[in-house]
Amino acid sequence: MDIVSNQQKKRIHPHKFTLWVAIGSIVMMFAGLTSAFIVKSNQTGWKTVDVPKVFWASTAVIVLSSITLQMALRSFKQREMNRYRSLIGITVLLGIAFVVLQWLGFQDLWQQKITFKGSGAGQFLYVIFGLHSLHVLGGIIALIIMFIKAFAGRIKLYSAVPVEVMATYWHFVDLLWIYLLVFFLVIG
């Protein structure tokens, strides 16, 4: 139990801290957009939108991907590298599935004649969900890099910090998605 004394010295890792600040920053961006939405929704000529059912499926997918990534983190810490690799792979696939489902949702809306014309909830939906998908795509790219490193790395990595940072970000985009969906269901 010599670790206890070390633990007092332990501060949050700078990279993790940086990520938390970045999350604060991303939250401000979506806060800006959703507050613009609220301001606009009180004005005349506002058109609401029915959120397509596909987005429920994508919600299930991204929640599932959060779970697989958490399991991947756990396997990494237990040094079960094969399980770690396959779980990261599954997370990547689920992430891609999420973006594809979002795209299908957009197409569904587009076929309902909700295009870029106008300035109702539909147009905001394209912008807000689209930007969220960009953040997911960024996460997917980082995940793919981690996936490749898990195979190709010549140096063995023991620090769990990169995986933890990745997991935190991924859970954040997951939660952000749930917030955005609830926002559109309640106010949109």
């Binding site: 670790i3 949050i12 606009k40 300035s119």
Partner: protein, 603 residues
């Protein structure tokens, strides 16, 4: 939790170990890794500074050009046609050109010079050096921050050379003018480039800001508690917090504007007729953009001002050989300014039809900023009071900052009142106010910083004689240029107009405008002299021979004269005291690294 800990004790690795590794590796540097894609915070700081200087020359030149138009609206300058061709046919600046110049002057100075060039430079150079860290929390993100800024610069610079010209709807790019290509030349391709460039710029300042915050909170050396940090670091910290929380909102606004421009949405557009053509856009609100813009825009002025305040505090204390007066009050007022900065944005929008009750709340919050500002001014003056002042160029610029901050701050009280603002809004009074308090004052803070830390950056001094000439011409020039604009504004002279000679009521100002133009040219020439001094001194300046030329307490002066990547050759020094022990117990200064003596008095 303890489970994870016992499996992986390396999680508790401290940052010191981490960075000693960096230190060992750095002998493998090539020219590219040392000067171009460098991850050394000092080099990145210099890259920001030099890019900022180049932008300052461009932005300053633009102001000289439109001052020529304002001072001499009827003159023909053939050379303008030779250089600018169709933009200045017959040697006269065309309206489109004038608006492009004004817009680019604002954009370049506010974002590229006074944000990236100021906090990019000094946050990078000073944060690790004054905190006792070998580098930033993430040197790689830090390098990306510069290169995103570089990319933004390239895009903005190339927008100057396209046939329809750069963005021309003011630095605030209000729609509908900025959203409709058919409304003006500058709202065509130039505007899209402006938006893309600003998006890159926002990414750059977010990456930088993240790094500054996590470095300040996580990478301080042993003994460097938060209240032992120099005020420069506190100022950089609050600046970064402001940037990280407000720039994303501008990005949201810019994205919606890009959609309106290119994809046919109507977030900001409604019921518009352009050149007799009725547009189909419905339901948008141009005011929405103003809210999103000023939610960034107001914190932005503090992003510009706070680093200057921090550096001035440090420079005044070092050079008056006295402790800073009221350290905690300085810190508290920085904090108060940081909070209030987010709560006052609508004072830019008093005449948009804002609910008067809401307006009065914003008046109250705006006037509240006078309190922390006055505390800071009081503390600077009392720091100088009966000090043993060394009038170096850095000190003079710092004192100049205080002077300008007072003059410009007082007119803020006029403008912050919604009733007076109805008369003064969009007049030259506003131009005078924000140039003095935010533009020129921050510039003075930045120049003070350059003169003061130049020896640390390049191991040589700037030429002092040129420095004194630079200071006196600039301060006198700044007041001659901007003071008279208050009178023009009070008389109702609008800003943004390129020729006011057809109004009889403004003809009285004809000669005054000529004077302002002549002074602007002189001041601009003196800035070029400073640029010469800067580059000449990098190579030929007087060499620094001692580690601590200013007799300062802070940690950057405990590094070698030309520190390598990693800053300290041996161990990182430990800190035992606050940074302002000047003139204490009969000693001129006591560095932060010196342990507290047995019989030492309390500060």
């Amino acid at each position: 939790m303890s489970d994870a800990m016992s499996v992986h004790p390396e999680v508790v690795t401290t940052h010191d170990v981490h960075h000693d590794e960096h230190h060992v590796h750095h002998h493998k540097e090539t020219f590219i890794t040392k000067y171009v894609f460098s991850q050394d915070h000092k080099t990145i700081g210099k890259q920001f500074l030099i890019t900022g200087i180049i932008w300052a020359i461009i932005g300053g030149l633009f102001s000289v050009l439109f001052r020529l138009q304002l001072g001499y609206p009827d003159q023909h300058f053939q050379i303008l046609e030779t250089v600018f061709g169709k933009w200045a046919e017959g040697g006269q600046i065309k309206p489109e050109f004038y608006y492009a110049l004004v817009t680019m002057h604002g954009t370049v100075l506010v974002f590229f010079v006074l944000t990236a060039g100021l906090s990019g430079t000094f946050a990078n150079i000073l944060i690790p050096l004054q905190l006792g860290a070998r580098d930033m929390a993430s040197p790689f993100l830090n390098m990306l921050s510069y290169w995103f800024f570089f990319l933004a610069s390239v895009i903005m610079l190339s927008s100057l050379f396209i046939s329809t010209g750069p963005a021309a709807s003011g630095w605030t790019v209000y729609p509908p003018l900025s959203a409709l290509g058919q409304a003006s030349e500058g709202s065509k391709l130039g505007m899209d480039m402006w938006l893309v460039s600003m998006a890159m710029f926002i990414v750059s300042s977010l990456l930088g800001g993240l790094n500054y915050i996590s470095t300040i909170l996580n990478m301080r050396t042993k003994g460097m508690s938060m209240t032992r940090m120099p005020l420069t670091i506190w100022a950089m910290f609050f600046t970064a917090v402001l940037g990280v929380l407000s720039f994303p909102v501008l990005l949201s606004g810019a994205i919606l504007l890009l959609f309106d421009r290119n994809l046919g949405t109507s977030f900001y557009l409604s019921d518009i007729v352009v050149n007799g053509q009725i547009l189909p856009n419905e339901g948008g609100s141009a005011i929405l953009f103003q809210h999103l813009f000023w939610f960034l825009g107001h914190p932005e002025v503090y992003i510009i001002l706070l680093p200057a305040m921090g550096m001035v505090s440090e420079i005044l204390s070092v050079n008056s050989r006295k402790p800073i007066f009221g350290y905690m009050a300085m810190l508290g007022s920085l904090f108060a300014i940081c909070i209030l900065a987010f709560l006052v944005w609508a004072h830019h929008m008093f005449v948009t039809g804002l609910n008067p009750l809401l307006g009065s709340i914003f008046v109250l919050l705006t006037l509240l900023i006078a309190v922390p500002s006055a505390i800071k001014v009081f503390n600077w003056l009392t720091t100088l009071w009966r000090g043993n002042i060394r009038f170096t160029p850095a000190t003079l610029f710092a004192i100049g900052f205080v002077s300008l901050f007072i003059s410009g701050g007082l007119t803020g009280i006029f403008l912050g009142n919604s009733t007076i603002d109805i008369h003064l809004h969009d007049t030259m009074f506003v131009v005078a106010h924000f140039h003095i308090v935010m533009g020129v004052a921050s510039f003075f803070g930045m120049l003070a910083g350059v003169y003061h830390w130049f020896p640390k950056m390049f191991g040589r001094y700037l030429n002092s004689t040129l420095g004194y000439i630079h200071f006196w011409v600039t301060i006198i020039g700044a007041y001659l240029i901007f003071w008279p604009m208050h009178y023009q504004g009070l008389a109702g002279m609008p800003r943004r107009y390129l020729d006011k000679s057809s109004w009889v009521s403004f003809t009285q100002f004809g000669e005054l405008d000529k004077m302002i133009t002549v002074v602007s040219i002189i001041v601009f020439a003196v800035q070029l002299m400073f640029v010469f001094n800067f580059f000449y001194s990098i190579f030929k300046g007087r060499k620094v021979t001692t580690q601590n030329p200013w007799g300062a307490n802070t940690l950057e002066w405990t590094t070698p004269i030309r520190p390598g990547h990693g800053n300290w050759e041996g161990e990182i020094p430990e800190v035992h005291r606050w940074p302002y022990d000047y003139g204490k117990d009969g000693r001129e200064f006591i560095p932060q690294t010196e342990p507290i003596g047995e019989n030492e008095s309390k500060h």
